[in-house]
C-alpha cells in the first residue's frame, strides 16, 4: 500500500464511553459502529451509531447544487462530437460558466441564511460550507481560464485580472462606504481604495477617485494631472483588435519607461501616496509586498506583479512566477494551505495534481467529478488507466454517483451518471438499484421504468416479484396479477391462479370477478390463468342457460389438459348435469366425444370414478 498523503481524520463517537471496544461495519456511504463486549464483563449498549462522511448531500441548500449541476451534466453529455473545435470551445466555456453560476447561487443563498440566524447560533457548519464553496469556485474559475479557455499570452493576463477581481469583493464594499461618506477624499480608507483599484488594474475607477482628491488640493494640481495621464495611457491588450502581441509589448515598454522616468525625476516626491502608486505602476516588488493586507492573497500578488512587470506572460511561464510569488508573499513559517498547493498545481498545468489534491481536501466527490468530466470532454486528460480499471473520469463519476445513491431522494440523479460511465456504469447501477426501498407502487413503477429502459431484465423480474408477493400477502390478487403481467412472469401468474382456484374450492364462488372477467389477452400469460378465466366463462355460460356453448367450452377445457389434476374431478362432475340437458344429449358429437374423454383418462382416475359410482 502506498503511503498516505495526509493524516486520517479522527471522528469521536460521543455516546460511546471510554474503554469500550467498538465494532463496525462498512456501508455504501457510511459506517455503522457499535459498542461490543470483548472479553470484558459488563452490560452491553443497545445503540448503533451511524458515522457519515458526507453531510453535504443532506443540506437542503446544497441539494439545489446537485440537482442543477445534474441538469448541466446531462446537457454536456449530449454535445455532438462532430462540431468544429472552435464552436465546441465556446460551448464548453459557457457550460463551465453555468456550473460556476450554480455554485455562486448556492453560496449566496447559504450566506443569506447564515445572516438571518441569530448571531449566537451562527453555526460554523454554514460558514464552513460557504468558505468551501468560495474556494471551489475560485479553483474552478482558474481551471476555466487556464485549461478550458486556454487563453494565449496577451488575453491570459486579462482573464487572470478578471479572475482576481471577481474574488476580491471587499474593494467595492469599501469604495461604496467611502463614496457615501460626507467627504470621500478625507475618509481614512480613501487611499486604501485607490491603491486597491490600482493593484487590480481598475484604472478608470482609480482615476475617478483621484479626481476627488485633486479638487481638494488645487496646489498639487499638476501632480494629479500627471498621475492621471500615466494611468490613462497604460496600454491594455485588446484581443479583438489588430494589434499584435509584439506591438503591444513595445507600447507597454514605452509606457513603463515613462513611469520610471517620473519616478527618477521625483515628480511625486512631495506626495507620499502618489509616490507609492507610481512605484506600484513600475512594478516595484517591495512596494507591492508592503501592501500585503490589501492584496491579502499570494495569487493576487502574482497577478498584480504580472500586470506591472510581464503583461505578455505566456501560459508556460506562469508557474515560475507563481512559485516565486508564493514564496515571497507567505512567511517562511506558515504552512501552505491545501488551497494554495491546488492553485499552484493549476498554474503548473498539472491537471492530475489539481484533481488529486481536491479529492483529498474535499469530503464530497461533486467538484472533482464534474470538473474532470468537463476537462475530459475538452480532451485535456490523458487517458491513463488506473490500477483499478477504468479511467479517471469514470472512476470519479462512479464514486460520486455511488455516494448519491445512498441518499433517500437523490438516487434518481445518480442513474444518469451511471449511464454515462461506459465501462462499469451498468454494473454499478444493477447492484445499486435493487437496494432502493419500495414503499409505494408509484416508486416501484419509477424504478421499474429505469430498469426497463436499460434492459435490466433480472432487476425487473426481481422488483415485480417483490411487489407481487407483497400484494399477494395483503390479498390483493389483482395487483399481484398486474405485477406478474408486467414482468411476464408465468410462474407467478400460475401461483395467483392457484390461489383463485383454491378460493373457489373453499367457498364455491369466485372472488374478484371484475378481474377475471376482464383480463383480455393477459390471460394467455400462463396456462393456469387461462384455465381459470375459461372456467369462469364456463360458469357464466351455464348460468345464462347457454348449455351447448357451455358444453363445448368444458370439452375444450378437458381436452386441452390445462386443468390442474386436482380439478379433473370437478370438471367431470360439472359435465354430469350437462349430459342431462336435452339439447346437449341430442348432440351426437358430444356423446361420441364423451367416450373419447373416457378413453383418455388415466386408468387410475377411471377406476376411482367407477369405485365412486
Amino acid at each position: 500500500m502506498e503511503e498516505l498523503d495526509v493524516e486520517p481524520a479522527i471522528t469521536n463517537i460521543p455516546a460511546a464511553s471510554d474503554g469500550k471496544h467498538l465494532g463496525f461495519a462498512w456501508g455504501p456511504g457510511d459506517i455503522l459502529a457499535y459498542e461490543t463486549l470483548y472479553m470484558a464483563p459488563g452490560s452491553g449498549c443497545s445503540f448503533i451509531h451511524e458515522v457519515r462522511k458526507d453531510e453535504d448531500i443532506y443540506s437542503p441548500i446544497l441539494r439545489k447544487l446537485f440537482n442543477e449541476s445534474h441538469h448541466i451534466f446531462v446537457g454536456l453529455q449530449t454535445i455532438r462530437e462532430d462540431l468544429p473545435s472552435k464552436n465546441k470551445k465556446t460551448q464548453f466555456v459557457s457550460i463551465s460558466k453555468n456550473y460556476r453560476s450554480v455554485i455562486r447561487a448556492c453560496m449566496e443563498e447559504l450566506q443569506q441564511v447564515a445572516e438571518t440566524l441569530h448571531p449566537y447560533m451562527k453555526t460554523s457548519v454554514l460558514v464552513l460550507q460557504v468558505s468551501i464553496l468560495l474556494a471551489i469556485e475560485l479553483i474552478w474559475n482558474l481551471c476555466e481560464v487556464l485549461f478550458i479557455d486556454a487563453a494565449p499570452a496577451g488575453p491570459l493576463l486579462l482573464h487572470l485580472l478578471d479572475w482576481v477581481r471577481l474574488h476580491k469583493g471587499d474593494v467595492d464594499e469599501k469604495a461604496r462606504e467611502v463614496l457615501q461618506s460626507e467627504s470621500p477624499a478625507e475618509h481614512h480608507d480613501y487611499w486604501d481604495v485607490v491603491v486597491s483599484y490600482v493593484l487590480q488594474g481598475r484604472f478608470e475607477e482609480a482615476r475617478q477617485m483621484l479626481v476627488k482628491q485633486a479638487t481638494l488640493q488645487p496646489a498639487a494640481r499638476n501632480m494629479y494631472k500627471l498621475m492621471d495621464t500615466l494611468l490613462s495611457k497604460m496600454p491594455f491588450y485588446n484581443p479583438g483588435g489588430t494589434q499584435t502581441l509584439t506591438e503591444f509589448d513595445v507600447k507597454w515598454r514605452h509606457w513603463h519607461e515613462e513611469v520610471d522616468r517620473c519616478l527618477q525625476d521625483n515628480s511625486f516626491a512631495s506626495n507620499q501616496h502618489l509616490e507609492i502608486i507610481c512605484k506600484i505602476l513600475v512594478g516595484d516588488e517591495d512596494t507591492l509586498l508592503e501592501h500585503k493586507e490589501l492584496l491579502s492573497t499570494w495569487y493576487h500578488f502574482l497577478v498584480t506583479r504580472l500586470l506591472f512587470c510581464h503583461p505578455t506572460v505566456k501560459p508556460t511561464e506562469l508557474h515560475y512566477y507563481a512559485q516565486s510569488c508564493m514564496t515571497m508573499f507567505l512567511d517562511l513559517r506558515s504552512v501552505p494551505e491545501p488551497l494554495d498547493s491546488i492553485l499552484l498545481a493549476a498554474f503548473e498545468f498539472d491537471i492530475h495534481q489539481v484533481i488529486k489534491d481536491c479529492s483529498i481536501a474535499l469530503n464530497n466527490w461533486w467538484f472533482v467529478a464534474h470538473l474532470t468530466d468537463l476537462l475530459d470532454h475538452c480532451k485535456l486528460l490523458q487517458s491513463h488507466n488506473l490500477h483499478f480499471g477504468s479511467n479517471l473520469r469514470e472512476f470519479l463519476l462512479l464514486e460520486y454517483a455511488s455516494g448519491l445513491f445512498t441518499h433517500h431522494s437523490l438516487w434518481q440523479l445518480a442513474v444518469d451518471y451511471f449511464d454515462n460511465c461506459p465501462e462499469f456504469g451498468h454494473v454499478y447501477l444493477e447492484l445499486q438499484i435493487e437496494r432502493v426501498p419500495l414503499d409505494t407502487e408509484r416508486k416501484a413503477l419509477k424504478v421499474l421504468r429505469i430498469c426497463e429502459q436499460r434492459q435490466m431484465s433480472e432487476q425487473v423480474r426481481s422488483i415485480c416479484k417483490i411487489m407481487a408477493m407483497r400484494a399477494l400477502r395483503n390479498n390483493r390478487l389483482g395487483s399481484a396479477l398486474s405485477w406478474s403481467i408486467r414482468a411476464k412472469d408465468a410462474a407467478f401468474a400460475t401461483l395467483i391462479s392457484e390461489r383463485f382456484l383454491q378460493d373457489y374450492c373453499a367457498r364455491g364462488t369466485f372472488s374478484d370477478l371484475d378481474l377475471i372477467d376482464n383480463l383480455g389477452p393477459a390471460m394467455l400469460l400462463s396456462d393456469r390463468l387461462t384455465f381459470l378465466v375459461k372456467y369462469r366463462e364456463f360458469h357464466k355460460l351455464y348460468e345464462e342457460n347457454r348449455f351447448s356453448e357451455a358444453a363445448k367450452l368444458l370439452l375444450s377445457l378437458i381436452t386441452a389438459k390445462i386443468a390442474p389434476r386436482s380439478f379433473w374431478m370437478t370438471l367431470l362432475t360439472d359435465a354430469l348435469p350437462l349430459l342431462e340437458q336435452k339439447e346437449v344429449s341430442h348432440n351426437l358429437f358430444v356423446f361420441s366425444s364423451d367416450k373419447l374423454i373416457v378413453k383418455r383418462l388415466p386408468f387410475s382416475l377411471f377406476t376411482s370414478l367407477c369405485s365412486q359410482n
Binding site: H71, L445, N474, N475, R476, G478, S482, N518, L519, P521
Partner: protein, 372 residues
C-alpha cells in the same frame, strides 16, 4: 420560452395545484400548493407568483415563485386537492387523509382535520393514491382497492366501499355530482354511482388489447361524457362513457408513464399531459367548420354543466373534436412546454393562462403565458 423558469426547491415534487380563483374576478391565479415525496421529512408548501397586479405588467421574467409557508407531512404526498380557498386535502403513503388550513394573514399552516390509517391492509398501511373533492364531500381511493367517502367537518368516514377493486386504484374524479370514475392497474375505468348502496360499479370500461395500468383520469369540463385517461404506456385515451366499453380514440403521447392529464377548465379544446419521460405536452384541437358552434345542432338539455356560468367562447358542439376517432382527421397540435429534457414531470395544473408543474429533478416550472 422566456416565460418559463425553473425554481429548484430541494424536494421532489409529487403534486402541485393552483388555488382556485373565484369565477367573478378576472384575476390570474397567484398561489399554488405543492407536496413532496421520497424525502425523510416530506412537506406541503404554499407558493406565490405575485400576480396581484393587473395584466399590464412588462413581459418576460417576473420573478420566481416565493415560498409563503410550509408544513411537515407524514409520508409521501400522493395526491393533493384544494377543498376551498383556504383548505387543502392531502393523501399520504401512510394511508392517512389530512385537511390542512392555510392562514393567509399569518402565513401559517395548521392541520384542520385528520383521518389516520383509513386505507390499510389487515396488517399494514396502504398508500392512499387519489383524492377528489367537492366541498364538503371528499372521496379517496388507495392501493387497498377501497373507495372511502368523507365529509369535511365530520369525524369518521361516511361510507367505505370495501374491495371496490382487486387491484390498485390509481386515480379518481367526479363524473357528475353523484357519480365518480376510478382507474386501476389492470386498465379498467369504472363508474360508481354513490347514490346506490351496492358495492359494485355501475359500468366498467376497459382497453381492448393489453390491460396496462391507467394512472390518471380527467373529465371534459363541459361535456360530461368525455373522459381522458393516461396510462403506463403513455397513450392518451379519450372515452365516451355513454357509448361502448372501449375508448373512442387512442393517441400516442409519451414514451413512458403518463402521470397526469388535465383538460383546461375554461378552454377545453386544450389538454395537458405530463409524463415520466420528462415532457409536458400541450394538446390543442380545433373544429373543421367555421360555423359558429350554436348552429351545429340542437343542445341537449340533459347535459348538466357543473360550472356556475356558461363559458364564453367554449366549443359546445355535440360532436366534440376530442372524439374524432383519429388524430389525423381533426387538427390536433401538440407542443412541448418545457425547454429541455428533465427528470419525470410528476404533476401539472393549469388555470387561466398559468401553468405550474413539478419534477423529480426537484424543480418547479411556472408558465404565465400559456397560449389558450
Amino acid at each position: 420560452m422566456e416565460s418559463v423558469n425553473a425554481k429548484y426547491v430541494s424536494q421532489k415534487i409529487s403534486k402541485t395545484r393552483w388555488r382556485p380563483v373565484s369565477h367573478s374576478s378576472l384575476q390570474q391565479p397567484d398561489i399554488f400548493a405543492t407536496g413532496s415525496w421520497d424525502n425523510e421529512d416530506n412537506k406541503i408548501s404554499f407558493w406565490s407568483i405575485g400576480n396581484h397586479g393587473s395584466s399590464g405588467m412588462d413581459e418576460g421574467f417576473e420573478g420566481d415563485p416565493q415560498l409563503l409557508c410550509e408544513h411537515k407531512h407524514d409520508g409521501d404526498v400522493l395526491d393533493l386537492q384544494f377543498l376551498d380557498q383556504d383548505r387543502i386535502v392531502t393523501t399520504s403513503s401512510t394511508g392517512a387523509v389530512t385537511i390542512f388550513r392555510h392562514h393567509q394573514n399569518s402565513q401559517t399552516i395548521s392541520v384542520s382535520q385528520r383521518w389516520p390509517r383509513v386505507h390499510r391492509y389487515p396488517c399494514d398501511n396502504a398508500p392512499c393514491t387519489g383524492v377528489v373533492c367537492s366541498s364538503p364531500e371528499i372521496v379517496t381511493v388507495g392501493e387497498d382497492g377501497k373507495i372511502i367517502v368523507f365529509r369535511a367537518d365530520q369525524e369518521g368516514v361516511i361510507r367505505v366501499i370495501e374491495n371496490a377493486d382487486s387491484s390498485t386504484i390509481h386515480a379518481v374524479t367526479y363524473l357528475r355530482t353523484t357519480e365518480i370514475l376510478t382507474v386501476n392497474s389492470i386498465g379498467q375505468l369504472k363508474l360508481w354511482d354513490l347514490r346506490q348502496q351496492s358495492n359494485s360499479p355501475s359500468q366498467i370500461l376497459s382497453l381492448s388489447g393489453d390491460r396496462l395500468p391507467l394512472h390518471c383520469v380527467d373529465r371534459h369540463p363541459n361535456q360530461q361524457h368525455i373522459v381522458a385517461t393516461g396510462g403506463q404506456d403513455g397513450m392518451l385515451c379519450v372515452w365516451d362513457v355513454r357509448q361502448g366499453s372501449t375508448p373512442f380514440s387512442l393517441m400516442e403521447a409519451h414514451s413512458a408513464e403518463m402521470w397526469e392529464v388535465h383538460f383546461h377548465p375554461t378552454n377545453p379544446d386544450h389538454l395537458f399531459t405530463c409524463s415520466e419521460d420528462g415532457s409536458l405536452l400541450h394538446w390543442e384541437t380545433s373544429t373543421h367548420s367555421d360555423m359558429p358552434s350554436f348552429l351545429q345542432g340542437g343542445r341537449n338539455n340533459s347535459m348538466i354543466s357543473r360550472s356556475a356560468m356558461a363559458p364564453a367562447g367554449g366549443n359546445q358542439s355535440l360532436i366534440s373534436t376530442w372524439l374524432s376517432g383519429d388524430s389525423s382527421k381533426g387538427r390536433l397540435e401538440t407542443t412541448h412546454m418545457l425547454p429541455s429534457q428533465t427528470l419525470s414531470v410528476n404533476s401539472l395544473d393549469v388555470l387561466g393562462q398559468c401553468l405550474v408543474c413539478g419534477t423529480d429533478g426537484e424543480a418547479i416550472f411556472v408558465n404565465r403565458q400559456v397560449p389558450v
